[in-house]
Amino acid sequence: MLKIYKLSLITIIGLVALYTFQGYYPEFIALFSNAFPPLIAGAAVIVSGVSLERYWRRISDKFSAIWLYFTCGLFLWFVGEAVWAGYTLIMGVELPYPSAADVFWLAGYIPFFIALCSYVRLFGGALTRKTLVLSLAATFTLTIFVAFALFIPVLEAGDDPFTTALNIAYPMLDLSLFSVAHLGLLVFWKGKLGKPWLLINAAIAVNTFADIIFSYATVQGVYYSGHMIDVLFQIAYLLFMVAFYVHAKEF
């Protein structure tokens, strides 16, 4: 098990180093930042699919349904990445945002949210009312803070309504995932399932941070293929992949 953590850490360090020194190979990093995400997202889908195969019995089986939703969510995000890569690498569109890729990314949140909710709901009885109220209040405060921090620059940018909505939607959707996922972490923290839930939370947190910065960067017009933000999205996929691998190994 230690091997997978070491391997992930090395991959993360490697990715960060690759993006940090991109000044030496700007053309390569532009290609890499568009070509690598479908690969890492695809790998995450495969690992989730393996877990699904392990837990699958029938759709009415709760655990089977949860893993089906997780896999569907990741699959839709993978399609989003593949469509983005198609735009940038095949059609030569410099920044396909908004684009058809967003349809898949946004759609992916639905099954992922259902999966998290279903999983946490199974064990909801383990949380005390006080913990539940406190943690939901903390998430609500965080959401309000992010919303206000984002609303002003995004609205001031004067983009079309669809782009404006997307710039706000992604971080908000990430926070909605986090609001459920952190409850899972609280429930499973002391058990073997605490590890995969910590990784799921880390993945969502990194994704949230990346989406917030992406919204700012696109509003400011400073985002480009190979921007340092891209590494965060890739790390998030890696964390999801490791989380699902560890989950299948531990349980």
């Binding site: 837990y55 089986d61 655990f63 009885g125 429930v187 499973f188 058990g191």
Partner: protein
């Protein structure tokens, strides 16, 4: 062995089966696998070593184990036709001992 003890143990095994079903069949099988692989117990061994089930569930689910334990206890009380009363703090062993005590009157 006292017939009532046998009935209690049978009810407990069935209650464990039902309680773990909240995880679905696949989840239940994984718990039984852990019980067998890490503790050398089957579900039939649980009535004589209930703390092993508690330990196994806590090891896997942490605080989440309580939700499963509660389902097991509710199912057990239903089977034994006992009244389940929700307490502020849940303790599997306490509920189990209370069920035994309520059934007592007879010899264990």
């Amino acid at each position: 062995m006292n017939q009532r003890v046998v009935a209690f143990e049978k009810a407990l095994v069935e209650a464990i089966d039902e309680g773990l079903l909240m995880l679905g069949e696949s989840g239940r099988e994984v718990v039984y696998f852990h019980l067998r692989h890490y503790y050398g117990f089957t579900k039939e061994d649980v009535p004589s070593n209930p703390h092993i089930l508690v330990r196994c569930l806590e090891k896997i689910f942490g605080m989440g184990a309580r939700a499963i334990e509660r389902d097991v206890i509710k199912s057990l009380y239903r089977k034994l036709k006992l009244e389940y009363v929700e307490k502020k703090s849940f303790d599997f062993m306490e509920y189990l001992n209370e069920a035994k005590a309520q059934l007592k009157g007879d010899k264990w």
